[in-house]
Amino acid sequence: MSLALDGLLAIALVVLALQVVTGASLFRSIVMFVVFGLVMALAWARLRAPNLALAEAAIGAGISGALLMLGYRRLRAAGPEATRPGPRSSRLAAPLSLLVAGLVASLGWTALGLPEALGAAGAAVVAAMPSQAVANPVTAVLLVFRGYDTLLELAVLLVALAGARAVEGPAGPADLAIPTMTGLPIVGALLAALVPLSVLVAGYLLHAGGNAPGGAFQGGAVLAAAGVLLVLTGRLVPHPVPGPVERWGAVLGLLVFSALGLVMLARGQGMLSMPGAWSIYLVESAMLVSIATTLVLLLGAAPGLRRGPLP
């Protein structure tokens, strides 16, 4: 029974992938992409990777989908011809892609038959887990064993934001057209329910990430989603000058993680070592703020945000 489920998910993934690349309109492709991400999350759950499933759903499907959708809308606002699908060229595409798929499939098939690696990193992590301050092995890998990767990844997130500002030029980004019906009472009610709930869920994911599936990335993405909701309904309006929350919030994770790491280096305990569970939660909390802030600023394409006029 369970393999049948995997087979179904696999077929769904392939069908959705084809829908994304051959979709009649851009909008349809983006929607299919979001659905693809959600089915991927199911696949991760089947592959016993719940942290990954949460991350894929929140970031891979949710945030990526929102980014693409907002990007699509911004293009449409800039000019209606911007999003018209054009003639498809390249007779080389189908044979080449079949060739690539075939090569990857055969490589993968061969790799499936290889024996398990000796002295693998994964086995070492599992062996080292009992002595760690957190019980979630993925969190341990992200924050303790491979914390340097996570730190550099925060830098990548920052450079995406800094790069977007650099590329937008002195005039700043184009205005994001806000829909006009945001004064409806139902919108207010929706926000009153969703935003506090999102904050709660984000906090839970952060706290739970130590010993159960969850973590700063997943929590940060949920918080960012709440932020984007506020931007899209006009409760937060873009502002050309970033305020202190936007400025310090975006770099808080990097600053706290690096500062802690450097202090540990100065005390002779090794750069980026984590002296206890408190350090992991501290860094993850700072990361949550940064991830949420950076993602909201990227999604809203706004250097800064201010509270909007009450409807």
């Binding site: 990857v104 490589l107 061969t110 790799a111 290889l114 398990e116 690696a117 000796l118 002295g119 693998a120 990193a121 994964g122 086995a123 070492a124 992590v125 080292a128 303790v144 064993f145 491979r146 914390g147 340097y148 990767d149 550099l152 990844e153 830098a155 990548v156 920052l158 450079v159 995406a160 800094a162 790069g163 977007a164 500002r165 650099a166 590329v167 030029g169 002195p170 000058v241 970033p242 400025r247 310090w248 975006a250 770099v251 990097l254 600053l255 690096s258 790491g261 450097l262 280096l265 305990q269 090794g270 750069m271 980026l272 070592s273 984590m274």
Partner: protein
């Protein structure tokens, strides 16, 4: 300051400076100036301790978070990494100083320019220190994103298109890289370059194919012919200081990784056919790039195609390892080429940018009279040309001479012919550029069509260019200490496999 702290500082100083720059936004211009200058100059000081350390030991390893590979991520410094870090520090300081006159850190435009620049520097340092394949992937992405943002800085349509093409191809290359990582992890369970080396000899075809895929993705990122198409538009349309860093440092990072994989991870298992193929691609790059440079009518694209050509020399080390003697010479030759091309090309781009700024156009026909109006800039062009053409006593000369010697020992006549032809072609296009600058403007010289307004060129910008070019020229004199460093940790002759840290012993 301990070696470990210095190495950590190389990555974290620019990283934290970028964070602080971002956090203060448009306030405190004096603080922003200070942070940028600190980040430009501090690496030169930070590198002293590691350099001293390497005179007594061949390798310095930094254990992060108290966990060594395969559990954690390894940072490893040897002679090759140290030389690359020096190149980053010197070119970064020179090009950064130049850029600080174009986009002062205290200005509004500066708040948008300098965070990506500093993150780029942090990423480069992280790349040259890392020994873990996935960590290298993240560092490469950091460098790529920052570089693309800076390429698109001018906001002109052509620059934006060049940046987008660069981004798309870089993302494609990264995905091929990750595919290789997936296969390697499946077989070996580790991503450390040196631990992988132990498994490669006993590894299956999957490992070899994965490593080949890894190398191909890196060749695309390094713009090695025929995967070079993104480079000329991107390097030609970026601001001068950015082009300098792109040609001198960013593409070199990918070449450096190819060397690591070929000589350290693939240790002893390198197939001769592939080595000759890589050499052939290098020869193609040299010939194609030089001829394309000759055909350009504007200076910056000429310099960009020259980069394509000069990168080809770096591929010639692979077929020249048939004997131990030729291999040692070829290795030293390409390292020297890495360093002197970095310095000379950075200088050339800075000087070209000065001319563009001062004249308003970089079309060769519009450069007439530049030698009188902008003598320092033209001087920098000439000096860097000495190294690019391979004239003594420059570093470029030493590099090409060593490669020629290696080819001679090996009886590789084709390679010798390519090397000589390459130098000849380089001379032709450099002379073409210089003679355009030394020409007297005709009486009917009109203002350049569609040109920008000429702007004054501060002397400090010219000094930056001339300094870098001078370093390239006198690099030939500094060969003794560099070769001594290289001998300690060269892949030739190979006595034993990559030295592991004691903690890395497999259970």
């Amino acid at each position: 300051m301990t070696t470990e702290a210095s190495l950590v500082g190389l990555v974290f100083l620019p990283l934290l400076a970028a964070c602080l720059l971002w956090a203060v936004g448009q306030r405190a211009p004096w603080l922003r100036q200070g942070l940028v200058w600190l980040s430009l100059l501090a690496p030169l000081a930070l590198l002293l301790a590691p350099t001293l350390a390497l005179t007594t030991q061949p390798v310095v390893e930094v254990v992060l978070a108290g966990h060594a590979p395969p559990l954690g991520i390894g940072l490893r410094l040897d002679a090759l990494s140290l030389l690359m870090l020096w190149l980053v520090a010197v070119v970064g300081a020179g090009a950064g100083a130049y850029a600080s006159f174009v986009e002062p850190p205290g200005s509004d435009a500066g708040t948008r320019f300098w965070p990506p620049w500093l993150l780029l520097m942090a990423g480069l340092n992280a790349l040259f220190l890392s020994a873990d394949l996935f960590n290298l992937y993240v560092a490469i992405e950091l460098v790529t994103l920052a570089a693309v943002a800076l390429v698109a800085w001018s906001g002109k349509g052509a620059a934006l298109r060049a940046a987008m093409r660069y981004l798309l191809l870089a993302m494609l290359a990264s995905l091929a890289y990750l595919l290789a990582v997936a296969l390697l992890y499946a077989e070996h369970g580790t991503l450390d370059l040196y631990l992988l080396a132990r498994g490669v000899a006993a590894g299956s075809d999957t490992t070899r194919i994965a490593l080949a895929l890894l190398i191909v993705s890196l060749l695309l990122k390094a713009a090695i012919f025929p995967l070079h198409i993104w480079l000329p538009p991107a390097h030609a349309r970026a601001p001068g200081a950015v082009s300098a860093v792109l040609s001198a440092l960013v593409v070199k990072g990918s070449v450096y990784l190819v060397y690591r994989i070929w000589f350290w991870t693939l240790d002893g298992a390198q197939p001769a056919l592939v080595a000759n193929l890589l050499g052939a691609l290098g020869a193609g790059a040299i010939l194609y790039g030089s001829i394309a440079a000759l055909l350009q009518s504007r200076l910056k694209p000429l310099v960009a195609y020259s980069t394509v050509a000069q990168l080809g020399y770096l591929m010639l080390v692979f077929p020249m390892t048939a004997t131990v003697a030729s291999g040692a010479l070829a290795w030293k030759g390409v390292i020297y080429q890495l360093l002197s091309h970095g310095l000379a090309k950075a200088a050339l781009f800075l000087a070209a940018a000065s001319l563009l700024r001062g004249i308003g156009s970089d079309r060769l026909v519009d450069l007439a009279g530049a030698s009188r109006r902008f003598p320092l800039s033209v001087f920098a062009v000439g000096l860097s040309g000495i190294s690019l053409m391979g004239l003594p006593p420059s570093g470029g000369f030493l590099a090409k001479w060593l490669l020629l010697e290696a080819a001679w020992i090996q009886r590789g006549w084709v390679w010798m012919a390519v090397l000589l032809l390459g130098s000849l072609l380089a001379s032709v296009y450099m002379f073409r550029a210089l003679s355009a600058m030394m020409a007297t403007p005709g009486d009917d010289a009109k203002a350049p069509v569609g040109a920008a307004l000429p702007r004054p060129v501060p002397w400090q910008m010219d000094v930056a260019a001339v300094t870098l070019a001078l370093l390239a020229v006198i690099a030939g004199f500094a060969s003794a200490p560099i070769f001594e460093l290289l001998n300690a940790a060269a892949p030739f002759p190979r006595v034993e496999s990559a030295t592991p840290i004691t903690e890395r012993a497999l259970p």
